[in-house]
Assembly symmetry: D2
Homo-oligomer: 345 residues x 4
Amino acid sequence: MNFCSDNATGASPAVMESLTRANEGHTMPYGEDPLTARVESKIRSLFDTDAEVFLVSTGTASNSLALSVMTPPYGAIFCHPEAHIEVDECGAPEFFTGGAKLIHVDGENGLCTAAGFDAAWNHLGKSVHQVQPGAISLTQTSEAGTIYTLDTIRTIADAAHERGLHVHMDGARFANAIATLNCSPADMSWKAGVDVLSFGASKNGCFAAEAVVFFNRDLATTFEFHRKRGGHLFSKMRFISAQLDAYLDNDLWLDNARHANAMAKRLADGLSGVSGAAFRFTVDANLMFMELPEPVLDGLETDGFQFYRMADSKGKFIRLVTAFNTDPDDIENFIASALRHSGTA
Amino acid sequence: MNFCSDNATGASPAVMESLTRANEGHTMPYGEDPLTARVESKIRSLFDTDAEVFLVSTGTASNSLALSVMTPPYGAIFCHPEAHIEVDECGAPEFFTGGAKLIHVDGENGLCTAAGFDAAWNHLGKSVHQVQPGAISLTQTSEAGTIYTLDTIRTIADAAHERGLHVHMDGARFANAIATLNCSPADMSWKAGVDVLSFGASKNGCFAAEAVVFFNRDLATTFEFHRKRGGHLFSKMRFISAQLDAYLDNDLWLDNARHANAMAKRLADGLSGVSGAAFRFTVDANLMFMELPEPVLDGLETDGFQFYRMADSKGKFIRLVTAFNTDPDDIENFIASALRHSGTA
Amino acid sequence: MNFCSDNATGASPAVMESLTRANEGHTMPYGEDPLTARVESKIRSLFDTDAEVFLVSTGTASNSLALSVMTPPYGAIFCHPEAHIEVDECGAPEFFTGGAKLIHVDGENGLCTAAGFDAAWNHLGKSVHQVQPGAISLTQTSEAGTIYTLDTIRTIADAAHERGLHVHMDGARFANAIATLNCSPADMSWKAGVDVLSFGASKNGCFAAEAVVFFNRDLATTFEFHRKRGGHLFSKMRFISAQLDAYLDNDLWLDNARHANAMAKRLADGLSGVSGAAFRFTVDANLMFMELPEPVLDGLETDGFQFYRMADSKGKFIRLVTAFNTDPDDIENFIASALRHSGTA
Amino acid sequence: MNFCSDNATGASPAVMESLTRANEGHTMPYGEDPLTARVESKIRSLFDTDAEVFLVSTGTASNSLALSVMTPPYGAIFCHPEAHIEVDECGAPEFFTGGAKLIHVDGENGLCTAAGFDAAWNHLGKSVHQVQPGAISLTQTSEAGTIYTLDTIRTIADAAHERGLHVHMDGARFANAIATLNCSPADMSWKAGVDVLSFGASKNGCFAAEAVVFFNRDLATTFEFHRKRGGHLFSKMRFISAQLDAYLDNDLWLDNARHANAMAKRLADGLSGVSGAAFRFTVDANLMFMELPEPVLDGLETDGFQFYRMADSKGKFIRLVTAFNTDPDDIENFIASALRHSGTA
């Protein structure tokens, strides 16, 4: 009954079985194996385009390595002030890019807006004294659990391209956004103007597998060297590939995300009936930030539910995250517990 | 019948079973799980000292991250000209240290010597214009498949410490060296003066698991930040830990290495009977570099054996590597094939 | 009649004469000369403390090199959103620190406040996933031309030290602030909690001379290596030192700043009588940001006055900067021109 | 009577006078002044080609910034083991390139050879695991005081270009080589295959002025950002330009070098008559490395002559450097002193 993070889960059974199969026999190392080639091919099919694909094992590596080829070291990376690359990677983007500067693009509900990007762009000086255009990074699903419309992505991406910036998407929860928008992966990425996607899988059924997908193939030329010298080229790559091989089969990636989203929706619906409940953002995917009365929180914890307590200038709140394997009974029990402790049951 | 690399193998069955067990239930992410704590404790026991332990997933990450806290960015890292950190990591040590310079320590048979270190040290200027003392890195088992005696390690480590350098050991094949020297892990590391060890497992029965072991705990203070911003802190860390948990049980790590070494010894013995065979270095562990007549090499390949062909200023040669799961029959078949094609069978 | 910048000026006559004298004879290079030693000693006397002193030649080098020893590469540097290190150095602090992140401390009138620092500090997560405490940098005189009180500096410095941060002062216009506050250099630096000061001279009578002054001597240990590998250790150092030698003699530094400030005060007073004039900030030193009606601006330019036109989300404005050698007649002429073109003369 | 270094000298009188003239009036900062434009134009004329020119103030900055745009961070820079960039810049090239690796190109007499480059190139692996082709850097005049023939430069440059490397020339003593070879600056640079030249002046009559000259203009595109964030864009640039303005007038640069070379030649000729004198290298320019008997060295020092004593694996030796303003009488006195103390006078 851990609602702290989708990172607290293990992997889908099919992923584990794939791993066991991949362990058979010898293969050439460093991604020169047929399984890795197959996964790359599957990803190209999934996105319906001839992308360059590179596998890594963590989201931080995926984002930072992607950005390392999208901006010069004296470059600017525009992102939301609460983006994972800004607040949760201990400076990894700065490290991998050789010192690029992350510049805040404001926007409500955890999402950058075109107006916010305009303002940030206009505020940035345009001489040799300032950092130069590098990239903009959009997080889909955002850290707030909210989701960009395709139109917004396209509008921002167009504005970015006009200004000489590349467009990165942090898709740690890409699948959850697809599940919500019910569009194709192509629609939400290259057709909307995304140059490079960090396609996450570790949170959604794999345990250490991410793909960096270059729709703009020109940007991919030197990626392999950045990956290698970052220590992210696996000798026994097939064990990364095996995870994604199963993840991409039979729509596992999408079914997993749909389940997680459905659990979140049910949880949010149920909790909205608790007196004093207030949501910080819309609940578009598999995570939510909300306020609940202290006695309710204490009661939930007493009943064995785990979640992160947080606080900001507006006050205290909690984060609840569902996952691909969240038990529906746990959701119902959580809601019941909250209602009971709020005295409204 | 792949003798290219110990990287061409999969993982030990016990490691895969451990992984499956680790997949059960929820745990806290980022190494805050009990399995990771258990592995850290096992490593402390194995080395019989209260070391600080950090898990990563690749050898390059292990070496580079270790070095990143052992030298300033304007520092010197002394190593053999054929060290993995010098020739096979695409500049990862330079990247992680922020620009340290690797300085060659010469020595025959793939091993640094104390005299070689003296010469390199004396050649380095000692003013503000030169890079400053950082670390020396010894590879045990070396890239040449040779092994340092404990005395040599101690002598070099003492000389390094006197000069203000820290001592790193690249132990990608640490287990193979222990199997040969038949000493304790403590004897070959901190008791011989090693400050930080990159304890490899990925080549010897795991698939993506390495431990950075700090015997000099002062050096460990900031390591976690370097690991995180390098993208090497795994959210679902238990899947790294699970590999090492099995690896360290029942002497699996040592049995695996002993097997690989025995296979190499039998292979070397058998091939020494081939007319025209010449070994570049002594065969101390599980890999060898040797010359064989071209017709023998062609014949071996025709018979389905895979290995790397190489060349240097002294001429052509091949590399042969055995592994924890090398089939003894493959060894005998290899020898027989070589003898047959050399016309000496 | 150039009011664009104090960078548009040359050097004080005494500085040029000192340079000519320094050109005599041979001296040892790289700062091992008696003139450099004398300047270091003069700076210690000026600040009435046994500081470590290093000379460099640009403000960007001074700030960035100072910060490079005050924060780890995964560190946070707190500063005002309009600080020179944030908006005018093309990412130099990120470069020299190896990727530190600059975090905004809000505050009106171009100045960080203690409350702004509290908010920024509290917003920064405190786990391995976030950048770690490095430094706070205060600009005195600020980029807005405003000046911190000694109390504010001390309050912020105390809060920074309590949290494990070092305190940097960007003193590109340090002299102008001293001229205004009429306190001692010690009062405005180490006695107020400053660990490292970038003591500027290039804008105020020298042409390429700055001193990095370490009141916290522990931070100075490795500075010389950072300076050298940044290409900022001059072989013929005496030509940097010679500038400062004259600058520090006979209160030239202070007289120059007093003159510049007096010119700015007279200019501000005069322009406040122009219809439509509005100042963005208080005019505490030698620069001001203000709005003037377009016809006035056009008229001033027609009359041969140069200044920067700028714009932000609040509208258009100009920057006017006076210098150590601003001609009082130019000030009167500027005021008269503005009044005439505003039709109020 | 200081023969330690050409860095121990001041500046030519004409350079100082130019500086004084440059101090008049206001100009726009950061190189937007007419004097800087004039110097850039003069350098284009001197090299008889439409090069991009950037001014900096130290040799280390010039070399490192040049290399920063000639190699990726995971790149290889080939150079002689005794190159200034390798042994005397405290890792500046690694810093400015973001971690490139310097690879030794052996060669007698302080000069890289084509064969040495071939060997180094062939030894470098060509896969993702190795650093990638970046640049080769030739030092003309070399650190040994020897000089490449135009043919050798061309041969090495051609080999480098064929392999995808750019060609850098460290011309800290470029003028001295021109004086010896008696060829045009174009002949010794772009016509011989040099892409980027660090054109030194600080040692030869200026005090802090160097030009980075891009014959390959494509490489210059981003240089200004590297210069700025390295802290090497001077606000009062005219004071750098003024030095070069005079340096390039009336062949001052060449006359200065000719004088220094002539002094060195006379000194070498005179010292060759000292019993026990042995030169390490040919004396092609203005510096020499030689052995002299201890009593001679002691006697010289007693007589007030300063020089660096050094030692390597072959034994002790000294370095003697002449400069643009070396007094011929000092040369004669040095020779006489040496002869006298050797008992051969």
